[in-house]
Amino acid sequence: MKTALTQARRSALTLLAFAVVASAILASTYWLTRDTVLANEHAAKLALLQQVLPSDYDNQPLSDTVALSPVEAKRLGHDQSAVIHLARRQGQVVAYAFETIAPNGYSGKIRLLLGVDAQGQLLGVRVVSHKETPGLGDYIDLAKSDWAQQFTGQSWQGPAAAVGYWKVKKDGGAFDYMTGATISARAVTSCVGRAVAWLDEWKQKANR
């Protein structure tokens, strides 16, 4: 009995010691890498923003933001808060960049980053993250195909100011898709349409 107890205590203490050492290693790794990781993420975010913004702004769009109200954030598919980045030249807003989430991808949410110029024309659409089937639905990602380029230059104006326009061709809309993976394209297309419509409305409301 005594030996069993001693043995159990010894095992428990060993496990505790390993847990403490592992936690210490993890904590120090986290502490060592934190700043670099944050800097990397910052640089990656900026690089991503630059892809959908014009090159001739002179402010810091990463920090020049307007916070959206919870209701508006929800319209863009965000759970809580969202911001819209402004690119300015000599104080004048030349473009907007913001994230929106398509809730209805083939396997979950698709996060998109949109850049829109002051006239409401799309400068670019980038997929920030998605869980679509590799090799199948992932063509929405610019790293895999230039499918997303077809949004560039589109805007919520004229015949395009209708929900029916922002659909894939199969559903009577104006946008290409790839056979066998319609759902991903459908989700992104309608989401982009909603987002440009929302931006027009938001600009009028905010009087920008």
């Binding site: 043995q7 010894r10 095992s11 060993t14 496990l15 390993f18 847990a19 592992a22 290693i25 993890l26 790794t29 986290y30 060592l32 890498t33 670099t36 990781v37 990397n40 990656a44 089937t133 590799p134 090799g135 199948l136 790293a143 895999k144 790839m178 056979t179 066998g180």
Partner: protein, 229 residues
């Protein structure tokens, strides 16, 4: 190379191959093997972890009481994977963007724990690290073969997307076995059932080769017996 190390290498790369013989770690193998580049990425990340965890487990093997060895090994592996994850995120960010999604998957790969339990806990550090490396490379080979099979059957290409691992210069490395403008696609190969079928074919192929080698050895043996008789 001494015979111990050669034996370990043969075990890891062929005889006890993690993907084809032990059938361990099927979850990430089947999920990620849709293209060569995905297979290569997951394979390399797994190899790094199996080698490191083999060395770490072997180093502490005398300190761990037998009845709590599994929780301790799991702790070590999980901590290692997290350390690799964080370090790559910080110091190899471009590679992390590609392999990042695979790294947490490694924890779900039983091959890591299986080698810790079956090999590293009973062998010295250098042999255990070598075993982990060879097991990882064996798995990488299977992942590349399965990825190639599925990519060729499913999309008619080979080596698509290698630029994610080797930089923009690799964009031109893609082989189009079917002309790109045909838009060829065979869904079965790309979806999970294709992974099962492909893996089954690879296993059958390995068994066939092993069986042939066995027959040949048998013939050789009877031949030499006849000669000596």
């Amino acid at each position: 190379m001494s015979s111990v190390y050669r034996e370990i290498a043969h075990n890891g790369l062929w005889k006890q191959n993690a993907g084809l013989a032990q059938l361990l770690g099927l979850c990430p193998v089947l999920a990620v093997s849709s293209t060569v580049v995905n297979g290569l990425g997951l394979g390399l990340a797994t190899t790094l972890v199996t080698a490191l965890s083999g060395a770490a487990v072997a180093a502490v093997r005398h300190l761990v009481p037998n009845e709590i060895r599994n929780p301790v090994f799991i702790l070590i592996i999980a901590a290692l994977v997290t350390v690799v994850d964080l370090s790559m995120n910080a110091w190899a960010h471009d590679l992390y963007n590609v392999l990042g999604i695979f790294i947490p998957l490694i924890v779900t790969n039983c091959i890591v724990l299986a080698r810790a339990e079956a090999f590293a806990s009973k062998h010295p550090v250098r042999e255990a690290a070598w075993d982990g490396l060879m097991m990882g490379l064996g798995l990488t080979g299977v992942l590349i073969a399965l990825g190639a099979l599925r990519e060729v059957c499913g999309r008619g290409t080979l080596f698509a997307g290698l630029d994610m691992l080797f930089g923009p210069a690799a964009k031109t490395w893609v082989w189009h076995l079917v002309p790109a403008e045909w838009n060829y696609q065979f869904l079965l190969a790309l979806l999970p059932p294709g992974a099962f079928l492909g893996l089954a074919l690879l296993i059958a192929g390995k068994n066939l080769l092993d069986e042939r080698a066995r027959q040949r050895a048998l013939r050789q043996k009877t031949l030499t017996q006849e000669v000596s008789a």
